[in-house]
């Protein structure tokens, strides 16, 4: 095998593609060619490295130097200086916002060094189109281990020991789900991977599918062995063309290498994976709607029970897990459930990927042990709020989640602590709001999202979300009435208690959370026609009061 003295990794996650990484890669390749360095330097396209704010990213190994916001013309400088002469290009390095000093090495970046990467262990480090790079990092070793030395029961015991909970939103114990499906009666069973990531601002599943598709395929095969299934389906939304392409390529490669198909590794175990591309409806992330969509029916939820573990795809027992959940499985099998359970808190084990977005300096994907304080995420990893603005709140759980107001910023990020605050981890969105964000306006956006995405099957969700939206629109237009607040509260409770599926039941969450923490702001809108954040300022725009110190109107 040829030895390259240097590997240049170009991030080709969707975010970096939109910010122009393709041109960067071409320029680097051209430069390498013109300096005749082809024999010395290898260029690798990887999946998302997580630091999307600073894309396109280029990392040069063996030193591990990271370059940020690289443009095509900068790429030529990297070739001339770093690759040819071995000199680090200072002006392209990440600059620590506090010390104003450049940080050359990946390992020294706060954003990355504070993370513990398990589900995202390979994304951004390997070429997702080369199965051998995945195998080099002990890829498919978990599958080999279960097929050669573990019984299906032992696999389930190991997953139960790990305490892993579903990362898609509900947080149900994965081991239990596997056990229920394994115990269900039936000769034909299915494994389904839920890649219908629909929450605005969340993109960890896409990143994993794009950057490390084999980890999902391997975990699905492991699950198939544990529950007795020989067929798997990955449900991905059509808005993720790159993820679909990488996944399809990975499945074909796995089949070529004999890691999918019949008699895998000589064990007699058969497993195949197919892709189902969804049209991108939010409700299809709900498991019963997702199953209906795979079967070719209209994507509408149905009441549970029966749960999919007993009656799923085509009425057969079906195991459904989310992408991030699956990609955490191979390390658990290899290192043991106890290793995984040693991270996190008592009831929330392991690590979780969060999508850090909004008014924060370092946006991107972060994977951290459960239970670390929110403060650390925002001010340490996230680098604080831009322009020295004040933190107002953090919104978690997407359009069906709630707020963590600034006074609770030291809350530990785990399922239980967030539950106490009336919000949820959900699929892992963290939207940071500063003093210029109007909570009422944001809640209106979320309600609008749920209203548009409601499938319309049950009345509380179909009509209820519409009425909520109408009230909120009225308030933000400056036509709110005092009775509106009470009406909102009532509506929320009706919808929460009577809607058919998770989407409807959770749709009032942001409104309830607003009523709990930001009632004064809402009342100011309705009663005083005063808009503290100057967002819904129609018809009186009074930005001075908000932007000038001293509150001059």
């Amino acid at each position: 095998m040829h030895y390259y003295r240097s590997h240049v990794l170009v991030c080709a996650g969707s975010t970096c593609v939109t910010s122009g990484c393709r041109a960067v890669k071409e320029t680097i390749l051209e430069g390498i060619k013109s300096h005749q360095l082809e024999e010395e330097i290898k260029v690798v396209e990887t999946g998302c490295m997580g630091f999307c704010e600073l894309g396109p990213l280029v990392v040069v190994y063996p030193e591990g130097v990271m370059y940020c916001r690289v443009k095509a013309e900068d790429a030529a400088v990297i070739v001339n200086e770093h690759l040819l002469k071995g000199r680090i290009v200072k002006q392209l390095l990440y600059q620590d916002p506090n010390t104003r000093k450049p940080v050359p090495l990946v390992k020294d970046l706060h954003f990355l060094s504070k993370q513990t990467k398990i589900a995202m262990r390979n994304a951004g480090l390997i070429n997702p189109k080369d199965i051998e790079e995945y195998i080099a990092g002990e890829g498919y070793f978990a599958l080999a281990k279960v097929l050669s030395s573990m019984s299906p029961e032992e696999v389930i015991i190991e997953i139960k020991k790990s305490g892993l909970r579903g990362r898609g939103g509900a947080g149900f114990l994965t081991g239990l789900k596997w056990e229920f499906t394994a115990k269900a009666q039936g000769t034909q069973k299915y494994v389904v991977c839920n890649g219908d990531e629909g929450v605005p601002g969340v993109f960890m599943d896409r990143s994993i599918l794009e950057g490390d598709p084999h980890s999902v395929i391997e975990a699905m095969a492991v699950a198939g062995y544990a529950i007795g299934a020989d067929q798997g389906y990955v449900y991905v939304r059509a808005e993720y063309p790159l993820a679909v392409e990488k996944l399809r390529h990975a499945i074909n490669q796995a089949c070529e290498y004999g890691l999918l198909g019949e008699n895998i590794l000589g064990s007699g175990f058969n497993f195949d994976v197919n892709i189902r591309v969804g049209a991108g409806a939010f409700v299809c992330g709900e498991e019963t709607a997702l199953l209906a969509s795979i079967e070719g029916r209209r994507g509408e939820p149905r009441p549970r029970p029966p749960f999919p573990a007993n009656e799923g795809l085509w009425g057969k027992p079906t195991l459904i897990n989310n992408v991030e959940t699956f990609s955490s499985i191979p390390p658990i099998i290899l290192k043991g459930g106890e290793w995984y359970a040693s991270m996190g808190t008592e009831k929330s084990k392991g690590t979780k990927v969060f999508a850090l977005t909004g008014k924060v300096n370092n946006t991107g994907l972060i994977e951290i042990p459960m239970g670390i304080p929110l403060e650390e995420i925002i001010f340490d990893i996230g680098g604080g709020i831009p322009d020295d603005k004040k933190l107002k709140a953090v919104q978690t759980g997407g359009p069906t989640g709630g707020f963590i107001p600034a006074e609770h910023v030291n809350v530990n990020m785990d399922y239980e602590s967030l539950d106490e605050l009336g919000t949820q981890i959900g699929s892992g969105s963290l939207t940071v709001l500063d003093e210029d964000t109007c909570v009422v306006d944001l809640v209106k956006f979320f309600v609008e999202f749920c209203q548009e995405e409601s499938c319309g099957k049950c009345a509380p969700c179909r009509i209820g979300t519409k009425r909520m939206l109408e009230i909120l629109e009225r308030i933000t237009r400056g036509e709110g009435k005092v009775e509106d607040i009470e009406a909102l509260e009532k509506l929320c409770n009706y919808i929460k208690n009577t809607a058919l599926c998770g989407l409807g039941q959770a749709a009032p969450n942001p409104v309830l959370s607003m009523l709990r923490y930001f009632r004064p702001e809402l009342e100011a809108h309705v009663r005083d026609k005063h808009y503290p954040a100057s967002v819904c300022a129609f018809p009186f725009d009074s930005p001075c009061q908000n932007t000038v110190e001293g509150g001059v109107r």
Partner: protein
């Protein structure tokens, strides 16, 4: 088309072979070879020296070696020069190199942990 993997042993073998593809990206106990590539070094033939090292490493299939470059070390008359930093051994700066000497350094110093005395300029404990 790639031959199918039929057993766990074959998977382990493939992994060992594939490891070279990503080893450069893993930080670990590695030997670092720093080639001085200032104008003086390049004029004296540092590029040939480096290519010889890459070729030798590639031929012998060793991959826990990092090759980096540095500028002029201020001892231009001793160029081409390079420094070998191997964990557990003194750091050695070699000078007056050519392709053959470079290959010897890879074999004797990097692989067999023996300093090539006649090419060495400086040793630091």
């Amino acid at each position: 088309m790639m031959k199918q993997i039929k057993s766990v042993d074959e998977l382990i073998k493939l992994k060992e072979a594939a490891l070279n593809k990503i080893k450069e990206r893993q930080i670990g106990n590695k030997t670092t070879i720093v080639v001085n590539m200032g104008t003086c070094g390049i004029a004296a033939g540092a590029r040939d020296v480096m290519m010889a090292i890459i070729d030798e490493i590639s031929k012998r299939n060793i991959s826990d070696v990092i090759i980096t470059q540095a500028g002029c070390a201020g001892m231009c008359e001793h160029e081409p020069m390079l420094e070998v930093i191997k964990p557990g051994m003194p750091q050695v700066i070699y000078g007056h190199l050519d392709k053959e000497k470079a290959r010897r350094i890879v074999i004797e110093h990097v692989i067999n942990s023996k300093v090539v005395g006649e090419c060495a300029l400086v040793q630091q404990a």
